[in-house]
């Protein structure tokens, strides 16, 4: 008898909480395709529209905020003189070299750190420390050691990517289920086979994702390095434009930087989808 009164009293304390059906506020569920496409277009179109409206209807000095048309015009100008192409190629080249070096080293180092507690103990403290030193803070040192050519810029990207990427790759390795490694031993695999045929394929999606995130960092660093000392590059373009108050060219530089970064990201996402079909949540 006490039990039932107990149950009733606890029920009376519960606040009713209706759950209304929704399309927009679905948690971790797919939304209808047209809605998704619509929202994605809005995401880009709305800021553009606002920008256009502000520059058209408010009387703003184009030196302060150029209109979309001004920026498009500046783009055409920089494109026709091939300056923009030269700058983009210069920045891409630096990022490419620095990032490939950093990735080529950090992926094996990260895998070793994740797989072998001995190597982790040896490297994790120093890497953890280095990671918290902002890479741009190394610029004066790099100029002192390596001059003002390409080397300090590539080195800057290397420093900015290597430590982060190693630690992120290490983490993906640590999450390989122990059961999976042990079943490999039971099936007759040795350590090397377990590393190459089980751990490596298991962490591949994690590695691709780590590289995707750190490429974004590399792309930012190259721009920062060019702001300070360079003869060409997208960062250089922006700093020169700033000095001569060519605001429209600053916008061109920023937009090109953003679009290239987004393209990198999409490329890596595509890579992940085609190479690691098994890792996607969907069946």
């Amino acid at each position: 008898m006490t039990e039932s009164t107990n149950a009733r009293s606890i029920r009376s304390l519960m606040k009713p909480k209706p759950m209304r059906p929704t399309v927009f506020w679905r948690l971790a569920e797919d939304i209808p395709k047209p809605l998704q496409t619509g929202l994605m277009i809005t995401s880009i179109a709305l800021p553009l529209l606002l920008w256009w409206a502000v520059t058209t209807f408010a009387n703003i000095d184009p030196k302060f905020l150029p209109s979309p048309a001004d920026v498009l015009h500046a783009f055409g100008r920089l494109w026709s003189t091939r300056e923009l192409l030269k700058d983009t190629v210069a920045s891409l080249w630096r990022v490419g070299v620095g990032f490939i070096f950093a990735a080529a080293l950090s992926i094996p180092v990260g895998i070793l750190m994740g797989s072998f507690p001995s190597i982790r103990a040896l490297l994790e403290p120093i890497f953890g420390l280095m990671r918290y030193m902002p890479a741009p803070a190394f610029i004066p040192l790099l100029i002192l050691y390596l001059g003002i050519g390409e080397e300090p810029k590539i080195m800057l990207i290397f420093i900015g990517v290597f430590f982060f990427n190693s630690l992120m790759v290490m983490d993906t390795v640590k999450f390989v289920p122990k059961d999976l490694i042990e079943s490999t031993y039971i099936l007759g695999g040795n350590r090397w086979e377990t590393l190459t045929q089980v751990i490596l394929p298991h962490v591949l999606p994690g590695i691709i994702d780590a590289c995707r995130i750190n490429l974004a960092a590399a792309w930012q660093l190259v721009i920062v390095s060019e702001l300070i000392a360079a003869t060409e590059g997208l960062g250089r373009r922006i700093s020169v434009a700033g000095r001569f108050l060519r605001t429209d060219e600053i916008f061109v530089g920023l937009i090109v930087i953003g679009i290239i970064g987004l393209a990198f990201d999409l490329l890596f996402q595509y890579l992940l989808r085609v190479s690691c079909h098994w890792a996607s949540q969907k069946r």
Binding site: D179, L180, E182, S183, Y185, I186, L187, G188, Q197, R283
Partner: protein, 258 residues
């Protein structure tokens, strides 16, 4: 004896002090036996199996197979884990072949062998599927096919059918018995399902908990091994005796935990 466990003790150092998980375990298993170890959750069953598999070292005592002490894992012992351990990037076929691949079996032979065992567990039509496309029971059957493909001398199984529905479980039981009769394989299976143990094994070790000890060893002699035997009084006697053994232990565990 084929598989010998001599005075095995296993303890873990935890932050609350030393935890004695297995105490004075002695088991003698002849070739071709089907042994079940039954015990409540937390009685150290998985821990015991890990010592036999060679994944872990006993604190003292030893495990011998064919007269040689076990020093590490090896393909003479196949194992089916309590949790699903398929390689998610490999197809069902590749999963089943993987042990043979690791042991250098040429492609054609390992394909045939794996296909044979996939057929045995009834998953031929899923050979190309990825593990994420399978149900839990199907995953476990792939794991069994994978373990069998290497033709191990001993098959170690850690509650392999715990997640299966009654009917799939029954089918798996038939399959295990059939396999056991046809081959000379020794099976050491862990379960907490008393009926499963009585139905499958020719001998049962009932384990007590905290610390895990062999409480009783029971020889099972059933008139036959069809599922109708489960209505037979001999079957009930074995089951009830085991249930009583484990129940006593359950109360003790509660008292000990308090």
């Amino acid at each position: 004896m084929f598989l010998e466990i001599n005075n095995l003790n296993k303890q873990f150092q935890t932050k609350n002090g030393t935890l004695i998980v297995l105490k004075d375990i002695n088991m003698l298993i002849a070739q071709g036996e089907f042994i079940c170890a039954v015990g409540a959750s937390g009685s150290g069953k998985s821990t015991l199996l890990r010592q036999i598999a060679g994944l872990d070292r006993p604190t003292s005592g030893e495990v011998m197979i064919d007269g040689k002490p076990i020093t590490g894992p090896g393909p003479d012992r196949g194992m089916v884990f309590q949790h699903y351990t398929l390689y998610p990037w490999m197809s069902v076929q590749e999963n089943a072949e993987f042990g043979l691949k690791l042991q250098g079996v040429p492609k054609k032979e390992r394909r045939e062998q794996a296909s044979y065992y996939l057929n045995v567990v009834g998953l031929t039509q899923f050979a190309k599927a990825l593990p994420k496309e399978l149900s839990g029971g199907m995953k476990q059957r792939v794991a069994i096919a994978r373990a069998l493909a290497s033709e191990p001398k001993v098959l170690l199984m850690d509650e392999p059918f715990g997640a299966l529905d009654v009917h799939t479980k029954e089918a798996m039981h038939e399959f295990m018995l059939d396999l056991w009769r046809r081959t000379n394989i020794t099976i050491f299976m862990i379960t907490h399902d008393v009926e499963e143990a009585v139905f499958l094994s020719n001998r049962i070790y009932a384990l007590g908990a905290r610390p895990g000890t062999v409480r009783k060893e029971m020889l099972i002699n059933l008139p036959n091994r069809s599922h109708t035997v489960k209505r037979h009084s001999t079957f009930h006697d074995y089951r009830d005796e085991l249930m009583d053994l484990l129940r006593l232990h359950g109360q003790e565990a509660v008292a000990l935990a308090a």
